[in-house]
Point group: C2
Chain length 545, copies 2
Amino acid sequence: MTDSSAIKGGQPNEPGTAEKSVSRRSLLRIIGTLAGSTAMYSAMTEMGFAQESGYAGPPKLSAPPPGTSVLILGAGIAGMVAALELRDAGYKVQILEYQSRPGGRNWSLYGGDSFVELGGAKQEVKFDPGQYLNPGPSRLPYHHYGILHYADRLNVAVEPFTQVNYNAYVHNTEANGGKPKRYREVQADFHGHVAELLGKSIKQSALDQDVTKEDREILLEALRGWGALDNNMKYVKGRATSNRRGPVVDDGGGVNSLPTYSEPDTLSTVLNSNMWRSIGESHEYEMQTSIFQPKGGMGQIGVAFGRELAALIKYNCKVIDIHQDDHGVTATYVDSRTGGPPRKASADWCICTIPATILSQLPMNVSAKKKAAINGVKYTARVRIGLQMKRRFWERDERIYGGLTYTNQPNAVIGYPMSDYFSKGKGTLLGADVFGMDALNFTAKPPEQRIADALEYGEKIHPGQYKSNYECGVAIAWHRVPWMLGGNSNWSEDDRAVYYDDLCALDGRIVLAGEHASRIPGWQEGAVTSVTDAITRLHAKVMGG
Amino acid sequence: MTDSSAIKGGQPNEPGTAEKSVSRRSLLRIIGTLAGSTAMYSAMTEMGFAQESGYAGPPKLSAPPPGTSVLILGAGIAGMVAALELRDAGYKVQILEYQSRPGGRNWSLYGGDSFVELGGAKQEVKFDPGQYLNPGPSRLPYHHYGILHYADRLNVAVEPFTQVNYNAYVHNTEANGGKPKRYREVQADFHGHVAELLGKSIKQSALDQDVTKEDREILLEALRGWGALDNNMKYVKGRATSNRRGPVVDDGGGVNSLPTYSEPDTLSTVLNSNMWRSIGESHEYEMQTSIFQPKGGMGQIGVAFGRELAALIKYNCKVIDIHQDDHGVTATYVDSRTGGPPRKASADWCICTIPATILSQLPMNVSAKKKAAINGVKYTARVRIGLQMKRRFWERDERIYGGLTYTNQPNAVIGYPMSDYFSKGKGTLLGADVFGMDALNFTAKPPEQRIADALEYGEKIHPGQYKSNYECGVAIAWHRVPWMLGGNSNWSEDDRAVYYDDLCALDGRIVLAGEHASRIPGWQEGAVTSVTDAITRLHAKVMGG
């Protein structure tokens, strides 16, 4: 749902494919379209579940004709899911991978790793053991059934990701004298003023046309509780509001234990601080709790896939040409480190998960529509910075355990480590997570300067701590990663209408897959659902469908 | 902040004590009272922190006169904090404990444990290894600095407690045909309708007196984003609202991947469902994330204290008399299992952490005011039920990973295990967590019937799963626990005004401590802050203060 395109719901426009059987998912959609969502809910309940994912489980593939082979380009999540499922079904599978490791954007950087970006700047990662940065995906939402299925199958241990931390900060250089506020203060004040204003409207009969008399009484009661209003429906300093925004001095025990309540900000202060912009993210479907991360870094999923598929992956292969004919597909590649003579790999079929940024530069004999679609996919610019700190001052001194601080500075956020809470050791902060122009601005400077900038931004929020505790860092700019040239696909509604179906369609013996060929761009779930669909269609064709 | 009394803020009414030095906390309160909270915030920033707990760290006690002894009654959190700190300061310390284990209400029940309640009903806990129930406290809020300090000091490992789970249920037997809704649906619909109504009021100029023209524009923008409204400020079916309440069919990948959006409930449905009553808890100060639990059960804190203080605790001692004179304090006790001859333990001073329910029945020569205060403290009735299930159907089939389901049935909640997520093994549910009349109604029946009732309630929410997966359980009713006779102290504002200062005041050589002698009743932090204050005052008196 990071997709900004507002697809009109309810009337699915299925691209023309050769699907023979009606899936549970399709059946439900038909019921929903014909009979409305209540009927669909009933049908779903009958069928034994109360919500349907875009992922209906791993594909159930019958045995292909003996010896049928598939060449997979890219050992990211999509490529490795394809390899795993096709291997299990009985296909002969080979993956060519540009890098010397599995995972693609599923990646964690540890001490000892090094990385060279476009232009040649090399970064050596000097993190201590146990410290890491996820330059790519970092969250596993509860409804991303596909990627969770593989984490489960491959025994990758997960732990909660702390999406919401009421004690982390919201910071705006133009508000509150440049000092951060606690997340809970901003949220409580916004809720409280909204509740007070709506309560006032109701009491003044401004909404009598919209809310029945009986409902008005219930709504007032609900607003009073939810907004922490007093008996006069006012959001004022006192126990109720301090029980949301936090008191200045907490309740204590024994004598001398009275609390000191905090003073709520006025509505105007709340609105003009712009801090309210930071409090909605956790309500978004993909950010909602429960949400998880693999223990030890997101890259552990890629590592586990790579271990499972070790015999099938050929590393350090830079594909330079993809050619299909009536009999099969051949990829020509060179050693991605040394160049050297071109080599060839052939198979009956090909699943290409190479990102469109790269693929658009490769010779490949597919239809003009497919070419246009590949050229039409746009990608984000994105920067992530990791900063190892010698002590966890945010925990020890500021009581911030995981979660995110939001700022209007170019670094956008500070992310606190979401494991080893209360550790007396080191910790690695996410020092920036930036899209678009801010990302491009960051990368106008060399990596060491990006880190220096991130430290300056952090110092504004954690004065006296941020720079003095800094030990080492790494700054990944996805649009300068040689094998990506972008963060993730960035679909507009218009681009979807023009290109999406062509991008996904089987083209002869080649099918594309990856987050770019999904409606969940920028998420591993997009890669899994994309490739699950792609291999299902490919298999149907292999089987004469 | 569970205390329902609305203490009026800003004008602290400090009970008369012999505090000599001005603590940082007191200084801040004085600044706050004289100059307002902005000045206090400035002062706090100057002093190097931005919020003050009711807990200012462990007490700093100078060495007492050699041989000074303290008798501590009760090896709960308060008693063991006192023992640890006084021992470290150089006091001679002994604890008498009724039970055969440390911790008091800090307690986890594991397989092999057994428990006899008032009236003689005995329960054998048959949980598998790794399964447990916390009958008492289960959360460690981020701002409970005192109990977190000791968990840290005693190396008790903690893990996140999942307070909010958007995919757990809200259930009301009188709404939605008795079927549960997902938490995210209820919250999104409530927020959305609130935003739409307030937006309408603003557009109709109903609030022009209250909100400036400039602020109105910002507020409309804020409401649109926060409430997931469309461009016409309506909360309607579509991508935006499904991005909060969840779609019926998720976005997918490849072809055939369009989502099916869900239909929001009407305002009237939301209000009359009463489900909105369940969505505010996570905003409360003591429920806010980040929030933690000890790995393996809350009882691990008590176990760690008990290990640290093994030489100082005498178990199975039922105190039957407490007597003080000018020279010291003597407790008379018998073996709590076998009775037998009374024995005596004496010391110069006494810290009594016995709950007021029990203490009110013991002979103790303290002032009439103190007696009245002990008699005046009320306690809650409370029931907690643990249910071991042979498989984690809530995770495997319903994608609920930790958190709470809320219901209007007498069990009130279902709590899902907050560790070992995605485990293919067993799990133990919190099957009921009930206060007051509902708790008393539960305990009108024997333990096995309470469990049977809890299973019936759960079956309504997880049909076909709850009863069929049940293996074994335990039902603890705190008001029937022989050493407690109640859940926790339950202070009204009136009772506080009459009794609280007298309860906390040093009485000769005896001082009381525990959650009941705090303004954080029912929380371990109340016990820590209470006893920290108590030993500080006792020490001042020992030192001639």
